[in-house]
């Protein structure tokens, strides 16, 4: 870069706004977050390992990541279909559907949690019909997946939708005029273009699901080794005043989220490169 590090600008307020930004960021986010690292340095590696290798903790981490993976996959598949329908077709109520897709961003998680439980519990709206068929949803890992599908629903729709909207119709016309049938055009031309956006949405839904707490705990039933998620294990440790244990689980989750964040960032760079649009 040939530009000087600090270019003089005629616009005022640089010192004040940047100073305030850094101070506020430090006080609210960075210093408290560093408490986790400080607390971890208190632990011996053995203590850390003992907490992390507890069967209940291992089961909860497996459940959190496994259920999140399945939920994000379901959202990627159906989210793509819904985004396609919203961009390409018109149907009655489309505007309302488009608006309500963001509901999981706006609806408090506890509300979603009790609503889903009311639907899928043994005597619930759908539960009463599923139970005689031998399908149990509430208080099982399937219930957890349903809650995670709910909270991850907007991500794939909202990352795929703008890319699909900007897609040049001429690309598809070119494929068609070169002899591709519709299925070939969609699967070999359109899907590869929206693939990075789809993967970004998938990763965002996955990352959100791993840390989710409020919408899950009501429907999960929280049975040890069966339906206890990792964030709940942190709370359980805290309630036993086991701060080191809680921090150990938090460190594992933070580390894995950090890796996810890196993946999402490089996926977004890929999207930008492939479609030429800023993300």
């Amino acid at each position: 870069m040939s530009k000087p590090l600090f270019k003089r600008s005629v616009i005022p307020g640089f010192g004040v706004t940047l100073g305030f930004t850094l101070a506020y960021l430090g006080l609210i986010v960075l210093i408290p977050l560093s408490a986790v690292i400080w607390k971890t340095s208190d632990l011996t590696l053995l203590q850390f390992w003992q907490t992390i290798s507890e069967p209940r903790v291992v089961a909860s981490l497996k459940l959190s990541f496994g259920a999140s993976l399945i939920a994000a996959t379901v959202n990627a598949f159906f989210g793509l279909i819904l985004a396609w329908a919203l961009v390409r077709y018109s149907f009655p109520g489309k505007k309302i559907v488009d608006t309500l897709v963001d509901l999981p961003f706006a609806l408090p998680t506890a509300v979603a949690g009790i609503a889903l439980t009311a639907i899928y519990a043994k005597n619930g709206w759908l539960g009463q019909y599923l139970e005689p068929l031998g399908i149990k949803i509430a208080f099982t890992p399937i219930g957890i997946m349903i809650a995670l599908i709910f909270i991850g629903l907007p991500f794939v729709v909202r990352t795929v939708q703008p890319v699909l909207e900007d897609l040049d119709k001429e690309i598809e016309e070119a494929a068609a005029s070169l002899g591709a049938n519709r299925a070939q055009t969609v699967f070999k031309v359109v899907l590869p273009i929206i693939l990075p956006a789809l993967l970004t949405g998938f990763a965002l839904a996955f990352a959100r699901a791993v840390g989710e707490y409020g919408s899950v705990i009501f429907i999960a039933g929280n049975l040890p080794m069966v339906s206890e998620i990792a964030p709940l294990m942190i709370i359980t440790k805290l309630e036993q005043y086991d701060y080191s244990g809680a921090t150990s689980i938090a460190v594992v989750m933070l580390f894995l989220s950090f890796i996810l964040l890196l993946i999402v960032n490089s996926l977004q760079a890929w999207t930008a490169k492939r479609t030429g649009r800023e993300v």
Partner: protein
């Protein structure tokens, strides 16, 4: 970046009338299948839970519904939620505007890292957000003993709830404004300065009118999360009835006591808040799209 997708206000491309063309369009039955599948997914996972909140809330009639909302514990939960939102949203608004100003109007090293840092709270589990404040201010934490000696309560009290809420809602306004102000550039501000405007006048009369809709958008989303946050607040609140119970925590307590009608009654207020949020959001998007298309035409 994790936790948020690009929600920058932009004009959506207008799709002109489409003619049915076998080569670039799906056959009618494929189209019906896609719309049907999409709507089924939407209805099952989204509409059904939303509807069930209101049906369950009114299951025992209007009297029970109103009684649940008029309960002193419910009223104090509503009050606490409003207090928390009234304090945390303006703080994050001031931060968001300041951060966006520094990031978009000036060049400095480490800008990308700063933007990633601002997004950090979105990629941290709410439970961990609560945990960090327990580690800092709890009885065994950094300042715990000092606070204990001086009889200052942070954790299991309102200040802890405030801090946790500010943490989880930290990025909302900033991440709305940064892309918006980036796109608008800084020529208008520079012109205003050259014409003799003072710093504050530049912001008030040049920048603010340009970003007003983005500010509203960010504030509305920030407010929805501030009022609805459950995980982080649950860790630091201590669940003291009538004192440190926010609305979402009150829903949890009522639900765990099998007082379902009351739990859903309070939940329905939060659901109405969510619907209002989406309504304002849609209106702002529509407004921004209109402004954009007018700019293009003019």
């Amino acid at each position: 970046m994790a936790g948020g997708i690009s929600t920058a206000l932009g004009a959506k491309s207008v799709r002109s009338g489409q003619k049915v063309n076998g080569a670039t369009q799906e056959s009618p039955w494929v189209r019906r299948l896609i719309i049907g599948t999409g709507l089924f997914y939407f209805a099952l996972f989204l509409l059904l839970p939303l509807g069930s909140v209101f049906v369950e809330a009114f299951r025992k009639g209007l009297d029970v519904y109103l009684a649940a909302l008029m309960d002193p514990d419910a009223l104090s939960a509503i009050k606490l939620t409003l207090i928390v939102a009234v304090i945390s949203v303006p703080l994050n608004l001031v931060f968001g505007v300041a951060a966006a100003w520094a990031i978009t109007k000036f060049n400095f090293p480490g800008k990308r890292i700063l933007i990633t840092m601002i997004d950090l709270p979105f990629s941290v589990s709410p439970v961990i957000a609560g945990l960090i404040f327990v580690l800092v201010f709890g009885a065994q934490g950094w300042f715990g003993s000092w606070f204990l000696d001086n009889d200052v309560k942070i954790i299991f009290a309102i200040p802890g709830i405030l801090l946790a809420t500010i943490f989880v809602t930290f990025p909302f306004v900033a991440r709305e404004l940064i892309p918006l102000m980036e796109a608008q550039g800084k020529e208008e501000e520079e012109a205003a300065i050259v014409l003799g405007a003072r710093g504050w006048q530049v912001f008030r009369f040049v920048t603010l009118p340009n970003i007003l809709w983005g500010v509203i958008y960010g504030v509305v989303l920030c407010n929805a999360r501030a009022m609805g946050e459950f995980g982080a607040v649950s860790v630091v609140s201590g669940h003291i009835r009538g004192e440190t119970n926010s609305m979402p925590l009150h829903v949890e307590i009522l639900y765990n006591e099998y007082n379902f009608a009351a739990a859903f009654a309070v939940a329905s207020l939060l659901a109405i808040l969510a619907l209002l949020t989406l309504l304002i959001k849609t209106f702002v998007e529509w407004k921004a799209a209109k402004v954009n298309s007018e700019l293009k035409e003019g």
